[in-house]
Symmetry: C2
């Protein structure tokens, strides 16, 4: 099923469920045409996707193409058996398709329109430049039978901490569709901003958004845009915590008397809605009613995470309410709140979704649980009969490498986690049974925007999101990291034809740092760095108005060059260490470029704080070369330099430090090189 030999040929991501590959190719020229058959050929989404296919092909090949839809015998023949059901796209709608390339034609068949959309993406990914013969492009002969592993494959995007304008959201949806993600989870409100126009409660956006919100027309536009690409839009209005942006306009919702302001910093506030007032529920009923019309999806996310009980505990009125209603603690009070919420959602025809914390013995099984805590809570909820989603392990704001996210599987407890449980003498939870496994709907990557803006958003999402998308779509057996990275690199480049800016915007940001013109030395220096991982950059230093225009903001989460170098070191160490030249060359390149960039780091105020990282990198390069040249190394000094390199300086990590550490610490070198 999984042909490594094919991967070099076909930069498909996610990898299809079944694929066999032939020898010949089908040319894609300016004579390219599409024909359509079947009941579903008249489906709106199919027709729009077909039109987009021409312009996208033209963009990715540079070959002029007029939309040529012929009655039969097109270069691409689409057969789609049925029309769409009425109403919005639903969880579990059929996404399967087959794609067959042979005899000079491409045949795409699907039972339902959604399958055509998925298959067209596979087709577009498979169009590559001819390596010989006529200058141009073609599709290799292959047969694909494909369908998703999970029906819910999402991205949760926080637009509250930093607002993300409509165009940027649309670009993100284009990318999501390209890698077959099908749920856009729109985190629309949080302490830092309420981002949707409410006509019923206009003070929400008036006092809670600094003017940065989506009009209802824009929301409708985005929802339609997503639907056209086979993506459901699930809105999240986080409550009763994470709602400090609601109360400046509607202070009566709050537990305390105020003054109420939207949060300018980050972290968990004490602010929390008052769940004891009937007026709170009337407000929520009104808001949910209004938003339910705006967001046609059957699911509605109520957040429910990270409630700080302090204000509830300090309020005599609320404590009295809890006693009266036999609510033992704040969890009980939140469960009461959720129960009321569920009634409101049900009234408006919505199914409720919430983060881990909403789990409570009283919670009806109809609620979907999104786990940000890990497989344990995911499996527990699934075992209890809840439908669940995994987000733990898929947080893109933590700046982890694609491989780390790729290794996370909803059905596998991460080894580190299992180890920790063992050390703590806690039971390792049993994996889901075949029966409870069905309750795991899939997962969602999550992008929290405290330290990202629309400017570098794409670089925080892509290409890593494509690896996660493969985890959700492809069979569980597709786990080859080397193949993933090869295809990810191709996908990363290919996504730029959709207008994604993960590379171009970072380049532009580095150009700004350099003072207006691009600096190859700065780019080379930056290529050895990575942003600090996890929550190492937070620590209360940031406000929503803090400029995010430093070097750490202008480099990708994962350095391809550093990963390649570290891999080369592994190969070198694992072999007989006989060919150090390539490694030395790379290190001396970084050394020369970093030396060349030092004056710039001094003369550009926004780069000043990157100078220590440059010195550290220079040290690391020097020690690395000394080791490779069998020169005598002061191992204490080298170790100190590496520790420095692995410690954040201006939030920057020297990403080749792990490789150099392995050079030093791997046994074979210890005798000859150490003092």
């Amino acid at each position: 099923m999984f042909h490594t030999a094919v991967l070099a040929l076909l930069p498909l991501m996610p990898w299809p469920a079944q694929i066999t590959v032939g020898q010949a190719v089908v040319p894609i020229t300016n004579q390219f045409s599409i024909s359509m058959q079947g009941v579903g050929a008249s489906d709106d989404r199919v027709r729009a996707a077909v039109v987009r296919t021409f312009s996208r092909l033209s963009r990715q090949t540079g070959v002029p193409m007029f939309p040529t839809v012929v009655k039969s015998g097109g270069t691409l023949e689409i057969v789609v058996e049925s029309r769409d059901h009425k109403g919005p796209q639903r969880l579990g709608d059929d996404e399967r398709y087959s794609l067959e390339v042979r005899d000079g034609r491409v045949r795409l068949s699907a039972d339902a329109p959604l399958g055509v959309l998925r298959g067209l993406e596979t087709f577009l990914q498979s169009v590559t430049q001819n390596t010989s013969g006529m200058p141009g492009f073609s599709v290799p002969e292959f047969t694909v039978h494909d369908g998703p592993r999970y029906p819910w494959r999402g991205l949760s995007l926080d637009v509250s901490r930093h607002f993300v304008p409509t165009d940027d959201v649309k670009r993100t949806l284009d990318g999501m569709a390209a890698v077959k993600l099908n749920v856009f989870h729109w985190h629309l409100s949080d302490d830092q901003g309420f981002r949707v126009e409410s006509k019923r409660f206009p003070r929400l956006q008036a006092y809670g958004s600094d003017g940065l919100f989506y009009t209802q027309a824009e929301i409708r536009d985005v929802v339609a845009y997503a639907r056209a690409r086979g993506i459901r839009v699930v809105p999240e209005f986080d409550m009763p915590g994470h709602a400090a942006s609601w109360t400046p306009g509607y202070p009566n919702l709050a537990t305390t008397s105020g003054p109420h302001e939207i949060l300018r910093g980050f972290g968990i506030t004490e602010a929390v809605l008052d769940p004891t007032k009937e007026s709170t529920y009337r407000f929520i009923d009104g808001l949910v009613g209004e938003m339910s019309k705006l967001f046609p999806d059957e699911f509605f996310h109520i957040g429910g995470d990270e409630v700080n009980p302090k204000q509830w505990n300090q309020s005599g009125k609320i404590q009295a309410f809890m006693r009266k209603h036999h609510l033992a603690n704040s969890e009980g009070l939140q469960a009461y709140f959720n129960g009321r919420l569920l009634k409101i959602l049900t009234k408006h025809g919505k199914q409720m979704e919430g983060w881990d914390e909403v789990l409570n013995p009283d919670l009806p099984k109809s609620v979907v649980i999104q786990s940000w805590r890990g497989q344990e809570s995911l499996w527990q909820a699934a075992a209890e009969g809840y439908r669940t989603l995994l987000s733990a392990g898929y947080y893109l704001d933590l700046m982890q490498p694609a491989s780390q996210h790729y290794a996370i599987d909803p059905l596998v407890l991460p080894p580190a986690r299992a180890e920790r449980l063992q050390k703590q003498n806690k039971p390792i939870p049993p994996p889901p049974t075949p029966a409870t496994e069905r309750n795991i709907l899939g997962g969602e990557a999550a992008m929290w925007e405290e330290l990202a803006t629309a400017e570098n958003l794409d670089s925080r999402l892509w290409p890593r999101l494509a690896a996660i998308a493969e985890r959700f779509w492809s069979p569980q057996s597709v786990t080859d990291v080397h193949s993933m990275y090869e295809r990810l690199a191709m996908t990363n480049g290919w996504l730029e034809w959709l207008g994604l800016t993960q590379r171009s915007n970072l380049e532009l940001m580095r150009q700004r740092l350099a003072g207006g013109e691009r600096s190859p030395a700065l780019d080379a220096f930056a290529s050895a760095l990575e942003p600090v991982k996890g929550y190492g950059r937070h620590a209360g230093r940031y406000l929503t108005s803090t400029p995010l225009n430093r070097l750490v903001d202008a480099i990708p989460p994962e350095s391809d060059a550093a990963r390649a170098f570290n891999n080369d070191v592994d190969a070198f160490v694992a072999s007989d260490r006989s060919q150090p030249a390539k490694l030395i060359e790379k290190l001396s390149f970084w050394q020369a470029q970093t030396e060349a960039v030092l004056p710039l780091l001094q003369s550009r105020s926004l780069l000043n704080d990157a100078a220590p990282a440059a010195q550290t990198l220079l040290n690391v390069c020097r020690y690395g070369q000394m080791i490779l040249r069998h020169e005598t190394v002061d191992s204490a000094a080298a170790s100190a330099a590496l520790t420095q390199a692995e410690t954040s300086e201006s939030d920057l990590l020297v990403a080749i430090a792990p490789g150099i550490r392995r050079l030093i610490e791997a046994p074979a070198v210890s005798a000859s090189n150490r003092q």
Copy 2:
């Protein structure tokens, strides 16, 4: 007036009429605010420009900014004396402004709203990153009194040969406004396509555009967008030649019986409208009437260039008409046609504009003449009392360096041209007198789109268009090429904050050529190349459907790296030739990168034809290094290699060849290096 010392500080382009520079700076932070005073402060264009200023500042600095317009005492204080006159922007509307940066404030004052727009661009260009102190941005203290040399500063854009979608047009307008150009001359119809929706004559776009045309709503949108940026939109409907796209829908307009088809190739067709039928004028009257409403500018361009008289000469009916009306020849017939056109335009309230060829003794002086032939015809027309524009020397599709366009001045006969006249014993025309000089309104750069598409359009326009804009705006004395190139490089980078894609799209195109991932070797190889100049790439090889996705399409018209190298050679040759190391290093870099790229050139079908240029570049690099190392060089072989390098191969020129030739041919080296 022109302080070279300042240029390093201030990347302004066009350079202001008067500037003095102080010592201190005014910080631009997230506290930046704008206040407005004067009658014109309520002007629509001023208010919209002020809002744009915040978002543009935010984009170019990465500093979050909310639009903070305060009553008084803003970081930027705008004083504008008067409101706009009613109706569309007019030729000669006041564009002067003063900008004073001191005492922690920026003061922008102008008599009229248009001056504010121009001054805001100067302000934005002057915001640069601090070189020391607080990380951030500031404006240096300076005082500018500025206004244009010419009132008509345009870009003529051909959207017929290849269609340019609305978004790309808008991006172009953004760039134009940034460099203070004020006329968008929209070449909307030609043999290859009629690009405007006509409701009165819908078969124009239905049969004449392949579906690629602007709806009237889009036209209105673009005109409003241009107006908001202080740019007039002058439409051109080229007739009676260059109108082969009119006759497929309306064959009765044609001189011959057809069949009529839009032109798929390029060059001058024989097709020409029939100027002898009254129905032709009724049609034009209807079309001009409709288009006059769509395009509110007072000027209307009727083309009038390159009429092939063959069909007229072969038609007995037309010959009879000419005899009847005492028209001696085809020029006379075209003059008759233009006379009728002028009446129609006058009836619809428009002033007529045409290319050189419309000049005729019978032509009323009210017509504006756009000269594509040169200063002679420009001066002649001006002397005869016509208002004139210069476009000769400003053709961006000819792939000439910025310096060449920059050297062209409406008031100066180019030396090469003067020399040619002298050789031909023709009189050198007298330059305009102060009286006739006033008839020269300015000039227009022209971008013909036979060999460009929306994909690489920006790279064909920018940054060279900024140098031409400076020629039209700045005093005639501003001619320092070194300063121009320094500021042009900064401007080129800066324009990317407006979304211009002159660099990013070419990089993406080269990534496509490389097969999906960026190839530094391909980029380095490409940096030594330039596209063939002038009309060397035409020769009937191209159709409108030909893919423009080769290496020649993916490199800028002018190689910055090659220019720098050639300049370094000049300095080396002019000095004592004692320090060849830097030149050798550059050549060996190109050599190594070109050797590295050879496998790619073989294995990517679209790059195959670039292989000969790579071999030539390798030869040139080798000979260059031999000369610099005082090795014995076979001068015949070296000369042959250079000739090859200066000859187009796959439309590619080796742009460092002139430098190497100077190395070989400059006297000092001849004795020691030649065999």
